[in-house]
Amino acid sequence: MNLSMVEFLLQQAWQSIRRNGLMSLATSSNMTVALIILSSFFLSTINLEHMADVEARKANITVDLEDDADPGDVEATLLGDMRVEETRYMSKDELLEDLAASFGRSAEAVQAGLQENPLPNAIIVAPGDPQDTEAIAETARNIEGVAEVRYREQITHQLLTLARGIKIAGVVAAVLMGAATLLIVSTTIRLTIYARRREVRVMQLVGATNWFIRLPFILEGAFHGVIGAAVSTIMVLASYSWVQAYVSEHLAFLELIYSARFAVLFGLGTLACGILFGVLGSVIGLHSYLKHV
């Protein structure tokens, strides 16, 4: 393929986009809406999964010891479990200091209001994989000298359930929106071919190859994908950065994924999706029409 062929193909594609102005606008708009919906679902899902992951990592197991227990023995038993990544012994005084600090007071001030330190000595256990938290806790309960085992399972569990629900809704939306987009793109391309049937016929008669006839239409589909991806990426990233700013200011305990690298990858992913939808829609439109021209 030489330079004048490429120029000719691009020119053909651009001409039919312009000639079918209103239809082209409708197709690009539909592509934009579809990609906005898909990328919103995507962003919600990966952020919830990210939050669940962060929470799960924070969710250490606290193993409270009986007063007469030997922390060394319990710690050694815990470390014998392959699923345990690390353990940290905290005496009741250290725990009280931590607790007081979280209220913004000194340990002495807190202790002054109490007869004695009510907290037990404890070992903080970090699981290698957050998934094993429950199993490790169960094992720890049976170790001699352990009074009680506590861990934060609920928030992690809820976040993961929510993420799973949104993921399923996202997949359903992706399938529906994807099908609608393919239908619209393929209809646009079919109309374009119909509008240009004389040209297509002449091309066939003077010996243009089938791919040469198809390429301008495929480029046209890809064009709608690129426009849809560009507009939706700008809109989604603008809204997302606003949400991120709001969350970091008002809901600081939530952590959203946000970086320049993420934005670039997100944009490229949306672009790839848009082009895929556009090209696939064109191919469907061409397949059902061109053989009859």
Binding site: M1, S4, R201, V202, V206, G207, A208, T209
Partner: protein, 228 residues
């Protein structure tokens, strides 16, 4: 140049369009294919440019078996066969120059090739000074000349014309057929389907008559519409 051997075409609905047709046409020969509407003239031409494949028989063009050609080779065959129709089939939003250049562009010709070949083709059909005109600004005869220029611009070995004078006045028709015979004189094999008796009788070229899908007469040395 063209060898048609024992060709039969039966359409899916059972209509028999051609039966046992044999035809040989030499390089640079001009041949009229005559017959009434529905006699099978167009079917025979469609077989040549591989719009149709025969139910039986073989078609060899320049040594190439056209009927057995895989689909992806058909475009390459068509670059060697120019086709002209009764309704010209020009693109209304392109001017004369662009209509002719279109045939080169879609086969990937370079810019330089385009600027060399388009003026030559327009010169040959006598329309060099109208290259900027649009089809609707031209007479029927001029439009047919543009379509002939487009068919010739790829320098095909064969030119197939299906009722090229069907929409034209007798005087203009005469000029168009004259142009086609000039093209044959330059070495292109020309097949011209027509039912224009006056023109066929006046030209005294080879005449192949088809009736009901069968060749009933082949006046090789030149003849009229009816008599040998």
């Amino acid at each position: 140049m063209i060898h048609v051997e024992g060709v039969t075409v039966v359409y899916p609905d059972g209509t028999r369009a051609l039966s046992g047709v044999d035809l040989q046409v030499d390089r640079g020969e001009f041949t009229f294919i005559v017959g009434a509407s529905g006699s099978g003239k167009s079917t025979l031409l469609q077989l040549i440019y591989r719009e149709l494949v025969p139910t039986e028989g073989r078609i060899i063009i320049a040594g190439q078996d056209v009927a057995g050609l895989p689909r992806n080779r058909v475009p390459h065959l068509r670059r060697n066969i120019g086709v002209v129709f009764q309704d010209f089939r020009l693109l209304p939003d392109k001017n004369v120059w662009e209509n002719v250049a279109f045939a080169l562009e879609v086969v990937g010709a370079s810019r330089r090739e385009k600027y060399r070949k388009v003026p030559l083709a327009l010169e040959l059909v006598g329309l060099a000074e109208k290259e900027q005109s649009f089809p609707h600004e031209l007479s029927g005869g001029e439009q047919q000349r543009v379509s002939i220029a487009r068919a010739l611009v790829n320098s095909p070995a064969v030119l197939v014309a299906d009722e090229p004078t069907g929409n034209l006045d007798p005087e203009i028709s005469w000029e168009i057929v004259q142009l086609l015979t000039n093209i044959a004189d330059r070495g292109t094999t020309v097949l011209c389907a027509t039912h224009d008796r006056v023109i066929v009788d006046g030209m005294r070229k080879r005449v192949v008559s088809i009736v009901g899908g069968t060749i009933v007469r082949d006046a090789r040395g030149g003849g009229g519409y009816d008599e040998p």
